[in-house]
Structures are given as structure tokens and as C-alpha cells.
Amino acid sequence: MPTPLTVNGTRYEIDLPEDVPLLWVLRDEIGLTGTKYGCGVAACGACTVQIDGEAVRSCQVALADVRGEVTTIEGLGTPDAMAAIQRAWAAHQVAQCGYCQSGQIMQAAALLAENPAPSDEDIDLAMQGNLCRCGTYPRIRAAIHSASQMMKEA
């Protein structure tokens, strides 16, 4: 029996076994490829999405266990209408290879929703599960502070 799933405001009926992780439902079934596979064991954060605003590792959430609405990087903003945090990321030219950045941004967006003015320590705590092999961390930190400022002024 298909499983209902709401992603970025759209409702889908998913015809896959219930133990398929949300990551692979998004990528291979729905075709939302902005969410990335990195490790499959919640060790890198590349697959981070939000469920009802909370950042989760989509490689660890089975389809049957999704309770709530899923937001992916595509639901946060688009190239023509970027969210404030994406604009901050672009302003700081954060991405190098860019593969981890969807997860970084989804994690940071959840942090800012909960804590609009995070300290460096807050950022360290919230973001240390998100790996970046290019080493863009200093720019990620700067972009989070900028996004915080932009959201305060908005």
C-alpha cells in the first residue's frame, strides 16, 4: 500500500517498502536530488533535511517513520528566490565542491530558527555533525552570522 509523504508542501503517495530511508525516497523516487548521500550512517550530515522544522539525517529515517512535513533544500528557496540563509551563503561564496552544502544549510537554517543569534560556541555545537572535506568551515561560520543579521533586519 502506498505511503503518504508531504515534501516541500506537495503530497506524494510513495510505492516503496516502508523501510526505505527518506533520503532514497527523495532522491530516487521523487527526484529531489539536492539532498545528498554521503555515508548512510549519520556521520556526515550531507543528507540533512527538516521534518516539521527539525534537522534530521534523512538516511536514518525510514519512510514509515516520517511523521510530519519534510522540507528539503529545494523547499527552502530557489535560484530566483533564495532564502536569506542561501543569500548569505552566496554572499560569502561558501561552497567549493558544494556537495555537503545542502546539508550544511538545512542544519544551519534549523539552528537559526531556534536560536536567531547563535554564538560561535552555539554554531560549533549545532554544526559539528556536518562534514565538509573542502574545509569551508570558516565561511560557513561567517555566513551563519550574516544570515542571523539579515533575518534580524528583515
Binding site: L23, T33, C100, C134
Partner: protein
């Protein structure tokens, strides 16, 4: 300079593979222009292989792997600068696999010689030899060569296209080309009439290209300043398409299992359980492994795990200890190379103080964020492959061979890469995808390696041993004699890329050691090749990734033995040999406020390495926090000759440093039963946001040739940290990773 004919008839050692010019290809073939592979739409024109103008607008081709280093943006900026177009008026594509996109700088980098002492003749020779890269199909991104390769050629491509467009306008208007000017993709006549490039492209493409001199740096509009990357908005909105994101109509998804005992064969397998699992389409016998094709990557991975496979053991020693015994045994053979032999390093100068030390570094995985993958569609007469790769022509050739087609029947689409670091110069992931697709004509299939397959089937940075002997006298270095033993990635890669037998002196084994710009009167470096079949490959900064740590750590030991400040000790040696090297040491001293003194609980170390033509110095600061050691700050100074995009250079140098520090702290591939032990990030971790130091970068432009920045940030980071730990704790790190001997903040 030597003529191309003379050079092509001689033998060259490319890395360690002998290329016999006169036999492999005639001189005429070397100098013949490569065909233009672009096919513009109706009413448009391709003015050269890098500039195409048609109904889609102005397209610039940046045929280098975009794996994070920003190459496509700066490459396009080189063309745009002379073409007189703005960056927001162009789209930038990687383009097809084609000989026209050969890397002219790569073979020059492989020539023997220290590099920093290269004469004008040496530069001319490297350039001439570089053209051989065209016939060798060297469309390769690597060796930090892209900017050296494109700096003149891409500005010339832009200038020639501009002048040819002006000629077309001159013909149309009946005026002289010299009376026209160009701005923002328009040709403008003296009377103010304007014609868009788009309206001239078709006519211009029919003209003989017009050569034009390059503009002076003082006139640059785009180069020399930060340019917003063309891939930035796609990468922060999840819309950039990496290899793993390719989606085709009717596509299926595949997972792979290969023999964990590296180099071992597959005896037999039982796939009955796997074939009954949900979503599974088929199991493919690849001879040396299996692939499961399914409706979903995860279902394919689950089923691949359910296949019972009887693996043979591989040819390599069973465990890490035995592997390193084999590496150590290389010291008993004759040296493979003696690339530096100044003075008499065999004799201890009278009255000098001798010190010796042995160092060791482990095998390392690349661990790109995006696991290996490729997508393929086979029709029986044609193969299309979508692959994030650093070597499109080699990819085309090897995929063609794997499915029994001619290379011309294979089309390679090079996608964005979620990290490369050298790993994506290999061909295996593309070939496996092609082989699976060949089993299912008409159905596109995406093959994705699990993180575990990726980590256990890499082409590793080789483990290495170094034995150093040095002598100091009156506060100065008077002797340095180094021996380094490791497997040769170059020899293996030349076999994989070109099918060439590999022999001769291997520069990679000693790169970053023999070519350091230090005036030590008795200075010798010898390389020894370990006889092992563990797959090894190019890992960001290659030989310098191990030799930077070896040589520079030992120099630090010598400085302490001489009772000198480590930075002043290096500076004195560099000043007497190569002024730009001394200048980066001075710069890093100044920006870090180096005094040679550190407060209690704080340590500082300096590291230096000249690699890929870029002298780079790094200072790392560490602090003891209740017994745990944290890296707090870092400073980098590097000289790239010409800084085309300062902001991107800063990103590359600091990113290269983080890559080096990650390896120095935590990186280690070990073996058990001939298989790699580490499986995933929990046992192969890297720096994260909370343990990455705040970093300041200074770019210098004293050198008289442009050089790269993708790799040079990596080598000096490792000794800088080890030297800082010595300053903090008094314990000398002679073996990596450092987490084994120090309580680092994780």
C-alpha cells in the same frame, strides 16, 4: 629553444614512464591543430574550441574538472577578460571530451628538475613538451596546473575571438577593424553603431581567426579581483547536478561489490536471496565482482549485501605491519632516484653535530564527499556516460574498450564533482557503470558505490617511510641526506591511463623533498620504490603530501639541534637559494606575529613546502585545554606569481590546509587480511567546524610565473602542526596520524 621536431624525436621521462616521441607519434602530428569539437546551433558560430556564440547566447568552454577549486569560473574569466564580455553575460560549460582540451602544463610539471630554478629555456622546453600532451590525450585536471595551462592560452582564445568578431563587423560596415571597439558583447563603431556578438558569430566563424596581442595587467577588468563563482547559486540551492544527481527517463539504479582483499579474484557467488528482494531487476556478474540493478539505490545496496560471495585473497601482504616491512625492504635495493646530490652528503663535515630520525606516514583514502558513481546508457552501437571525472579522454577510451566500441562511439558528459582530490582521475567507476549498462541495452543505469565500497576500493596515497640524516654546525644546516621509500602512484597511473610500461626515476616519490629551496651545502635525496600491488594514486599534493611532513619536520629537528628559532633557521636557508621562498616565510612570520616565544599552554609551529611551483608557508597555533589539544589559529602565505582571483585562492589554500590537517590528525588506512579496515567516516574522520582553526591567508606575487593553489596548501600544514605539538609538549611527532600519540580535540 629546441624545435618541436627535435624534442618529439627524443625520449622523455613523464613521471616515470618513458615516452618515446619519434616512435609514438610524428613531430608533424604534435604540431597539427586539434579539431574544434563544438557544434553551435543554427545562425551561430564556434570561434575556437573555447568560445561558442549561438541562440543560447555566449558559451565559454572550461574543459577542466570542477571539483570545488573554482576552476570553471577563473578559466571563463580569462576568456571573458579579453573577449570583452561580462561574467553575467556568459554561460560556462565543461564541454565534450576532446583533444583540443589537452592540458599543456601537466607534462611540464612532470619533467625532472627542481622547478624553482627553471631557466627560460626550461620553461620553453616544458611548454613545447606540453604540446605532446595533445596527442597523448592529456585532457586531465590535476597537478595544480589549470591556471598555468590556461593563463596565456585562454586570454589568447578570448582576444582572437574578439578580433575575429570585429573583423566580421568591419566587413559588414565597410570600415577598418582598427576603428572598432568592443564592450559587453557588442562591437561598437566610431559613429556609435552597435552590433551584438550574436549577430556576428556565424560570419566570424567563417573567417580565418585573427591573432591579437594580450592586454597589460593594468587594463584588466575582471582578473585580479574576486569574481562570484558561476556554480555558487546552483550549489546553495541544491540545483547543481553532480554525477550522482543525473536522472534519465527510465533509469535504474545499481550498487556494486568488489573484492575487499585488494587485487583478489572472485571465485563464485550465490545471488538467489538477492534476486528475490524488493525492487531488484537483476544481478550482474562482473567477473571481479557483482552489481545489483534495482529500482532504487538503497534497495540495490541492500540486495548487493545479500549476495554471498566467495572471494580469493589478494596478492598483498596481509596486514599493515607486513606492508610496512615490505616498504622498509625497498631501502635494501638500489635507489630508484637521486634527484638532488649537492656537495658530499656521504661525509659528515668535521666538527658538525649529526642527528638522525625515521619517519612514517600511513596510506590515506581520498574520501570525497560524493562517493564514486557514474551513469551509463548503452545502445549497442553507442555508449553515453555521465561521470564526474578528471580525465575525460582516458575515460572515453577505457569505457569504449570495456564495452567493445571505438572511442568515437562513446560520449562523455563530465558533471560537477563532489570532491576529487585526485580520486576522480581514475577510470574504474566509469568503466564499471559502462559494463553494467552494456548488460542492459537501452536502459540507462546509475551505479553508486556505497561509502564502504568507496573507502575500501580507493587508489590510496601510499604509505611511506623516510630515513633522514642531518648535520648542524655553528647554528647552520651543513648536511641533509634523505631516503624515502614508497610505492609509486605515477607508475601505476601511467599504466591505467596510457597502458605504458613504467620505469625510470620516479619524481613523485621524492617530490616535496629533493626540490626544496634550501641552500644546504651537502644535500642529497634518494627515492626507493616499494614492491607492492596495493592500488595507489594521486592524492591532493601527491608526493609532497608525505615529503612535506618528512623533510620539514626534520628541518625543525635540525633547527632545535642547532639552537635556532625554527622560522629564522628556514628563512636563512631559503634566502640563499630562492628569494620568493624567503618572502613567504617572512610574510607568515609577519601576519602570525611570530616571535619564537609562546605563553605556557600554547604552542606554535611553522611548516614550509615548495610544491607545484608555489612556495607556501604555514604557521599553526595549538593550545592545551584541560589536557586536550585544540588548534586555535593558522596563518598561510603563498606565492602564485599572478593572483587571478584572490578570494578563491584564499579558499583553495585554507581548504588545502584543512585537508592536510585532517589527514595529519586522523587519517589512516590500515590492512587486515589484505583488505582495508576503515569503512566509513566514523573510522576515517576529518576536521569539523569546531576543531578547524581560524585562518588568515596572504597571497604574494613575487614569482615570475603563474602557479597553482589547489594542492600547495596541503603539504606544509602537516609539519606545521607536528612542529607546534613539539613546541607545546616537547614530544616530536615522527609518525602520522597524530591522534595516536596526542590527545587532540575531536
Amino acid at each position: 629553444m629546441a624545435s618541436i621536431g627535435k624534442i618529439a624525436r627524443r625520449s622523455f621521462l613523464i613521471g616515470s614512464a618513458a615516452i618515446v616521441g619519434g616512435v609514438a607519434f610524428g613531430a608533424w602530428y604534435v604540431s597539427r591543430p586539434a579539431p574544434n569539437p563544438l557544434t553551435p546551433g543554427a545562425g551561430g558560430g564556434a570561434l575556437n574550441p573555447f568560445v561558442m556564440i549561438d541562440v543560447n547566447g555566449i558559451t565559454l568552454i572550461a574543459p577542466r574538472a570542477e571539483m570545488g577549486q573554482g576552476v570553471q569560473t577563473t578559466w571563463a574569466a580569462l576568456i571573458a577578460e579579453e573577449l570583452d564580455v561580462e561574467m553575467d553575460q556568459v554561460r560556462v560549460l565543461h564541454g565534450p571530451a576532446a583533444q583540443a582540451y589537452y592540458n599543456q602544463a601537466l607534462l611540464g610539471e612532470a619533467l625532472p628538475g627542481k622547478g624553482y630554478d627553471k631557466t627560460s629555456f626550461g620553461h620553453a622546453l616544458a611548454e613545447t613538451l606540453g604540446r605532446v600532451g595533445k596527442v597523448m590525450n592529456m585532457q586531465v585536471t590535476g597537478g595544480s596546473t589549470s591556471m598555468a595551462d590556461g593563463y596565456t592560452r585562454m586570454r589568447a582564445a578570448g582576444a582572437s575571438a574578439r578580433e575575429t568578431l570585429k573583423q566580421a563587423a568591419a566587413d559588414l560596415l565597410g570600415v577598418a577593424r582598427a576603428d572598432l571597439r568592443t564592450e559587453k558583447a557588442m562591437v561598437i563603431a566610431a559613429d556609435g553603431r552597435e552590433i551584438a556578438y550574436a549577430d556576428l558569430a556565424e560570419a566570424a566563424a567563417g573567417l580565418d581567426p585573427v591573432d591579437a596581442p594580450l592586454r597589460d595587467r593594468a587594463q584588466w577588468r575582471i582578473l585580479g579581483k574576486p569574481v562570484d563563482r558561476v556554480d555558487m547559486v546552483p550549489k546553495v540551492t541544491g540545483t547543481a547536478r553532480f554525477g550522482i544527481d543525473v536522472r534519465l527517463e527510465g533509469m535504474l539504479f545499481a550498487a556494486l561489490r568488489m573484492n575487499p582483499h585488494l587485487g583478489g579474484a572472485m571465485r563464485d557467488f550465490d545471488d538467489s536471496a538477492a534476486r528475490a528482494m524488493p525492487g531488484v531487476d537483476r544481478v550482474v556478474n562482473l567477473g571481479d565482482g557483482i552489481a545489483v540493478v534495482a529500482s532504487n539505490t538503497w534497495l540495490a545496496m541492500q540486495a548487493a549485501e545479500a549476495v554471498e560471495i566467495d572471494w580469493e585473497m589478494g596478492p598483498n601482504p596481509p596486514d599493515t605491519g607486513a606492508v610496512f616491512d615490505r616498504i622498509a625492504a625497498a631501502f635494501d635495493d638500489d635507489a630508484n632516484s637521486t634527484m638532488r646530490d649537492d656537495g658530499d652528503a656521504g661525509t659528515l663535515p668535521e666538527g658538525a653535530t649529526e642527528i638522525t630520525a625515521e619517519y612514517r606516514v600511513p596510506y590515506l583514502a581520498h574520501a570525497t564527499m560524493e562517493p564514486m558513481n557514474a551513469t551509463a546508457l548503452y545502445s549497442g552501437i553507442k555508449l553515453e556516460i555521465w561521470s564526474g571525472n578528471q580525465a575525460p579522454l582516458f575515460t572515453r577510451k577505457s569505457c569504449a574498450k570495456a564495452v567493445g566500441l571505438e572511442p568515437e562511439a562513446v560520449e562523455v558528459h563530465t558533471t560537477f564533482m563532489g570532491g576529487g582530490f585526485g580520486r576522480r582521475g581514475e577510470l574504474d567507476f566509469s568503466v564499471y557503470a559502462a559494463r553494467v549498462a552494456a548488460e542492459m541495452p537501452g536502459t540507462p543505469v546509475q551505479l553508486t558505490w556505497s561509502r564502504e565500497e568507496d573507502m575500501t576500493h580507493d587508489f590510496y596515497r601510499p604509505g611511506a617511510l623516510a630515513r633522514f640524516r642531518g648535520a648542524v654546525q655553528d647554528g647552520k644546516a651543513v648536511l641533509l641526506d634523505g631516503k624515502i621509500a614508497a610505492q609509486s602512484p605515477t607508475q601505476q597511473a601511467m599504466g591505467r591511463w596510457l597502458g605504458l610500461p613504467a620505469a625510470g626515476p620516479d619524481k613523485g616519490t621524492v617530490d616535496g623533498a629533493f626540490n626544496q629551496p634550501y641552500a644546504i651545502p651537502n644535500f642529497r635525496v634518494r627515492g626507493y620504490l616499494a614492491d607492492l600491488a596495493i592500488p595507489v594514486g594521486f592524492w591532493r599534493s601527491v608526493g609532497a603530501s608525505m615529503n612535506g611532513f618528512f623533510l620539514d619536520s626534520f628541518l625543525d629537528e635540525m633547527a632545535h639541534a642547532a639552537g635556532r628559532d625554527p622560522l629564522a633557521f628556514r628563512l636563512e636557508l631559503a634566502r640563499a637559494e630562492y628569494a620568493p621562498a624567503a618572502a613567504v616565510l617572512e610574510a607568515v612570520r609577519d601576519i602570525s606575529g611570530w616571535t619564537g616565544e609562546t605563553p605556557e599552554g600554547t604552542g606554535r609551529g611553522v611548516g614550509f613546502c615548495y610544491s607545484f611551483g608555489t612556495p607556501t608557508a604555514t604557521v599553526i597555533e595549538v593550545q592545551d585545554r584541560d589536557g586536550q589539544i585544540a588548534m586555535t589559529r593558522a596563518w598561510i602565505a603563498a606565492d602564485v606569481g599572478v593572483a587571478l582571483d584572490p578570494r578563491n585562492l584564499e579558499a583553495q589554500l585554507s581548504g588545502g590546509m584543512v585537508y592536510g590537517l585532517s589527514a595529519a590528525c586522523f587519517g589512516e588506512i590500515t590492512f587486515a587480511e589484505g583488505a582495508v579496515v576503515q569503512q566509513n567516516f566514523p573510522d576515517y574522520d576529518a576536521l569539523r567546524i569546531h576543531n578547524t582553526p581560524a585562518t588568515e591567508v596572504r597571497i604574494l606575487q613575487n614569482q615570475d610565473h603563474i602557479s597553482g593553489a589547489g594542492e600547495p596548501g596541503t603539504p606544509p600544514a602537516m609539519p606545521a602542526l607536528a612542529n607546534a605539538l613539539f613546541d607545546l609538549t616537547g614530544r616530536r611527532a615522527r609518525s602520522l596520524p597524530l591522534m595516536r600519540d596526542f590527545d587532540l580535540l575531536v
